[in-house]
């Protein structure tokens, strides 16, 4: 952008009553890239003029606290990798390792009970998983494990030998184990599992 001294002198004088065509306004309205920096500066100027609303600032700080907690959970997730646990147990494990309050992130995602799997919690679980950086494939494995555990009591972890060298290998082995166990579940539970997993997928992609 040129400086004022370079440009102002070249401005033609014009009649300020000359109408502004609407097409011009429409064109300029769409030039987002050129305007955001200006809006940002104007917002900073506007904020600097008046007192801050204490309640609103407290909410903003709460939102930043959530981001901080999620960032720490992400770090732990990268460190720990896939562990064959239900989604609730996995996130609780990460929270324990990261020394993060689970209630902070649960409140943010709208999940009341991480261990329960009612249909209504699908979008909250998806939101939390995305926040923590769990990919969709891994999330689905955790969710399916949760449904098996709810139906069968415990997940027989010993069923899969700890021989995998990579996270992806481990996940693949567990996926095939989960599929084999799911075949033994009642038709009703299988249907519930499919519907719930689909809802989680939709929530994750939304």
């Amino acid at each position: 952008m040129a400086t004022d001294s370079q440009k102002d002198c070249s401005y033609p004088k014009c009649d300020t009553n000359e109408p502004v065509p609407l097409w011009l306004i429409d064109v300029l309205r769409n030039a987002r890239e050129a305007k955001l920096g200006c809006y940002a500066k104007a917002a900073a100027w506007e904020v600097s003029r008046g007192p801050m609303d204490g309640d609103f600032l407290a909410r903003c700080r709460g939102a930043a606290e959530v981001a901080h907690a999620l960032a720490r959970l992400r770090d732990q997730r990268e460190h720990v990798g896939f562990v064959p646990l239900t989604f609730g147990d996995y996130v609780a494990l990460l929270a324990r390792l990261a020394k993060v309050s689970l209630s902070t992130v649960c409140r943010w995602s709208g999940v009341e009970d991480l261990r329960a799997v009612p249909h209504e919690s699908a979008s909250g679980i998806a939101k939390l998983a995305r926040g923590v950086g769990i990919d969709l494939r891994q999330l689905v494995a955790h969710v399916r494990l949760g449904i098996i555990q709810q139906s069968r009591g415990i997940v027989p972890a010993s069923a899969v030998r700890a021989r995998s060298e990579t996270e992806s290998d481990a996940l693949t082995e567990w996926e095939s184990y989960i599929s084999s166990v799911e075949h033994e579940l009642s038709a009703e539970t299988q249907e519930f599992s499919q519907t719930f997993v689909e809802r989680v997928r939709d929530g994750y992609r939304a």
Binding site: M1, A2, T3, D4, Q6, K7, Y11, P12, C14, T16, E18, V20, P21, L22, W23, L24, I25, D26, V27, L28, R29, N30, A31, R32, E33, A34, K35, L36, G37, C38, Y39, A40, K41, A42, A43, A44, W45, E46, V47, S48, M52, D53, F56, L57, R59, C60, R61, G62, A63, A64, E65, V66, A67, H68, L70, A71, R72, D75, W108, G131
Partner: protein
């Protein structure tokens, strides 16, 4: 416009990336109210502007490791890009109740023409960048749905209200001259005129 407060924020990103909790709080204090002010100017109600600003703080802070420093003010520009995208997503969800149309200060008219054409948008960006910084700011701040009053823009830019009005109009006329020479704009203008003639003929 005061830039000192903003440029001091650029170091926040690095501190946040290393997990400094105080930096997260400072980010919230700085950007929460700015996002709120921006959303209000774009026409959101106080309640919606607040809720969206709070949500933006989490999103932007969580994405902070993707930020790369590109000179003074870059964190603010980056954060506002996130805020803007969030606003667009929000508006899509409210499509029957809310329009992101920025120009309520101008009379309503359905031009029935797609001015969001990529070449035209690029030409508009180039044309805006040909203005001086002051005129560029004046034009942009008047395009908002809740435009800054001329008097406030004057206060912001240290100009009288009359000077802002005159510069605003001259800048628009200059932009008009530039864009009327642009091939993509010429094409769209001509198709728009043809369409209008056809409509008039039918009417």
């Amino acid at each position: 416009m005061p830039d000192e407060r903003v440029s001091g924020l650029d170091s926040l990103a690095e501190r946040m990336s290393s997990g400094d909790e105080k930096a997260y709080r400072a980010f919230a204090d700085a950007f929460g109210p700015q996002f709120q002010a921006y959303f209000r100017r774009r026409g959101l109600s106080d309640a919606d502007a607040e809720a969206l600003a709070v949500s933006c703080i989490t999103d932007a802070a969580l994405a902070i490791r993707k930020f790369s420093y590109e000179g003074p003010g870059s964190l603010q520009r980056w954060a506002f890009t996130i805020a803007h995208n969030k606003l667009v997503d929000w508006a899509r969800g409210q499509q029957y109740m809310f329009s992101l149309n920025e120009v309520s200060c101008y009379p309503d008219e359905d031009t029935s023409t797609s001015w969001s054409n990529e070449s035209v948008v690029a030409a508009a960006c180039e044309a805006l960048n040909e203005l001086s910084e002051v005129d560029h700011n004046i034009v942009c701040l008047r395009l908002l749905k809740q435009p800054y009053p001329f008097a406030e823009i004057g206060e912001m830019l240290d100009l009288t209200e009359t000077a802002v009005r005159v510069r605003h109009h001259r800048a628009l006329m200059r932009l008009r001259k530039i864009l009327e020479k642009n091939p993509a704009c010429i094409e769209l203008l001509s198709s728009s005129q043809q369409k209008r003639s056809q409509d008039d003929g039918h009417g």
